[in-house]
Symmetry: C2
Subunit: 273 residues, 2 copies
C-alpha cells in the first residue's frame, strides 16, 4: 500500500506556484458569514497557503443572515479590478448559498460553482472546476493513476464534490457510478470499483469488506471522533487491500487548498486545464 | 414481459393536452438548418403531434452554415411575445450547436438544453428538462416503476440524453452508472442494473447475456438495418429476461415528442414538474 500523500505534493507545489505568482498580481477575497469553528480552521489554512506562495488575501466578515450586506460586498468585489478571485465560505446560515454564489462573477469564481463554470464542466469544455475535484484529479495524475476506462465509485452526491467530480471524471473517460444515502447494495459498486471516492462524512463507512484487492481509495471525508480526525474509510481494515490510499488528514484536504492557488493562476492567465 | 408502450401512452396524452392547450395560446417555432432526411422525419412527427393537440407550429429554414441568419432568427423569436418555445433541430452542420442553443432565451428553451435549465437540473431545482429525459421518466412513472434506490445503468454520455438523464435520475434517488465507449466491463454494470437505458445508436449492442432476469430495458437507440428500425437492445434475446421493455419504434420516440407539448405547457403556465 502506498499513500496518496496530498500534504507532501501540496508542499511541493508551493515552490512551483511561488515562481508563477511572483510575476502576477493575485488578490483573493474570502467572505465568511457568521461564526463557525470549522470555517475558521478552513479559512486559516487557505490564507496560510495562499500567503506562502505570494497570493494576497483579504478576509471579509458578514453577520449571520445579513443578505443585503453580503450582496453589496459581492457586487463590490466583482467590480474591483484588483480582486482576482472570490471565495464565499460555506456554510452561510440563513441565506441561500446557491443564490449567493450565483452573484459572483464567474471569471472570479475560484470554487468553480457558478452556473457558467458548472455548465462548462458539463459540456466538457472545462474552465474553473471545484477545488476538491481538481485536487483529486491532480493527486491521481501525480501518482500516475490512469482515469481512462477506470471503474470509479463516488459516494456522495453534493453539488460541491460528488456531482462535479462525476462530470469531471467522465470527461476523462472514467466510468462513474454516483452512490448516495438511497443507494442499496453499496458494496456491489464499491467492490467492483478500481477507484472508490467517498465524500459523505460518515466515519469509517467503507471497511475492507467493501473493496477489492488493489483498490485505490480517495477519502474526502473529515470526521472528528474523540478529538481525533478520521475519514469515511476504515483505514485500518482497508489499507492492506488498497494499492493507494489518501490519509486523513493530509490527503485530499491539502490538495483542495492548493487548487485555490491553481485556479487563481488559471484565472489570472485566462488559461485552464 | 410487458411492453413500455410509449406510442399508446403518448396517444392517450393527446386528449389530456388538448383540454389544457385549448385554454392557452401556444406557438412553437422550429428551426431547421440545411437538409437532413432524419431531421425531416423528426420535425414532421413533432409538427403532427403538436398540431393534434392544438399547439401552433412555425417551421423556419436556414441554409447550411449561415450562422448570421440563424442568430438573427433566434434573436427575433426570443423577442416575439407570441412565441412560446423554440426548438433548434440538431444537427446544424458547420455551426457550433451548443453556442447557438445558448442564444435561445432559457424560458423558451423547449429542449431544456440551455445553461440555465441544465444548471437547474444539476442543483435539483428542475425547470425545463430535455424531452427525452422527461419522456423516459414519465413512461416509467406511468408503468409504476419506482426510481428510488433503483440501480440504473445508462449507456451513452451525450449532453442531450445520457448526462441530463443521469442528473434527473439521481434527483429521483436512483443510483446511476454512466457508461460509454471507453467503459470496460460494460456487462458488469448492465448485469447488476434494475434498469438499463441505452442511448448510443449501436444496433443490438445489449443482448440477453448482458442483463439480469427481471430487468427493465429502455431503448433510446433508433438504428436502421436493411430498411427496418431496431434499437440498441437485441430485442429477441432480451425480451424473455425483461420485466418491461420499450419497443423500437413506439417506445421512447413518441414520448420525446409528447414532452415537447408537456414542456410548452409548463413554460406557458410557468409551473414545472
Amino acid at each position: 500500500m502506498q499513500l496518496l500523500d496530498g500534504k507532501k505534493y501540496s508542499d511541493e507545489l508551493v515552490s512551483e506556484y511561488k515562481k508563477i505568482v511572483s510575476d502576477l498580481d493575485i488578490l483573493l477575497s474570502i467572505i465568511q458569514v457568521g461564526n463557525n469553528i470549522s470555517s475558521d480552521i478552513y479559512i486559516r489554512n487557505k490564507i496560510k497557503y495562499c500567503e506562502s506562495v505570494g497570493v494576497k488575501v483579504n478576509l471579509y466578515h458578514i453577520d449571520n443572515g445579513d443578505e443585503k450586506s453580503l450582496k453589496e460586498l459581492i457586487n463590490n468585489l466583482n467590480n474591483d479590478s484588483k480582486v482576482t478571485g472570490i471565495i464565499l465560505q460555506s456554510p452561510i446560515p440563513g441565506i441561500d448559498f446557491n443564490k449567493m454564489v450565483e452573484l459572483i462573477d464567474s471569471s472570479k469564481d475560484v470554487d468553480g460553482l457558478t452556473k457558467n463554470n458548472i455548465y462548462n464542466l458539463y459540456i466538457n469544455n472545462e474552465t474553473i472546476i471545484p477545488c476538491t475535484v481538481k485536487g483529486i484529479i491532480k493527486l491521481l495524475e501525480h501518482y500516475k493513476i490512469s482515469l481512462k476506462g477506470a471503474n470509479v465509485c463516488i459516494i456522495g452526491r453534493s453539488n460541491i464534490v460528488g456531482k462535479p467530480l462525476a462530470l469531471a471524471l467522465e470527461n476523462r473517460d472514467a466510468t462513474v457510478t454516483l452512490c448516495h444515502s438511497k443507494t442499496k447494495d453499496l458494496h456491489l459498486y464499491t467492490k467492483n470499483a478500481d477507484i472508490v471516492i467517498s465524500a459523505v462524512g460518515i466515519p469509517k463507512l467503507i471497511t475492507g469488506d467493501y473493496v477489492k484487492n488493489g483498490v485505490i481509495c480517495v477519502d474526502v471525508g473529515i470526521n472528528r471522533i474523540n478529538n481525533s480526525l478520521c475519514g469515511d474509510f476504515d483505514y485500518e481494515s482497508v489499507k492492506d487491500k488498497a494499492l493507494f490510499i489518501t490519509p486523513v488528514p493530509g490527503g485530499v484536504g491539502p490538495m483542495t487548498v492548493s487548487m485555490i492557488v491553481d485556479n487563481l493562476i488559471a484565472m489570472k492567465k485566462n488559461s485552464y486545464i
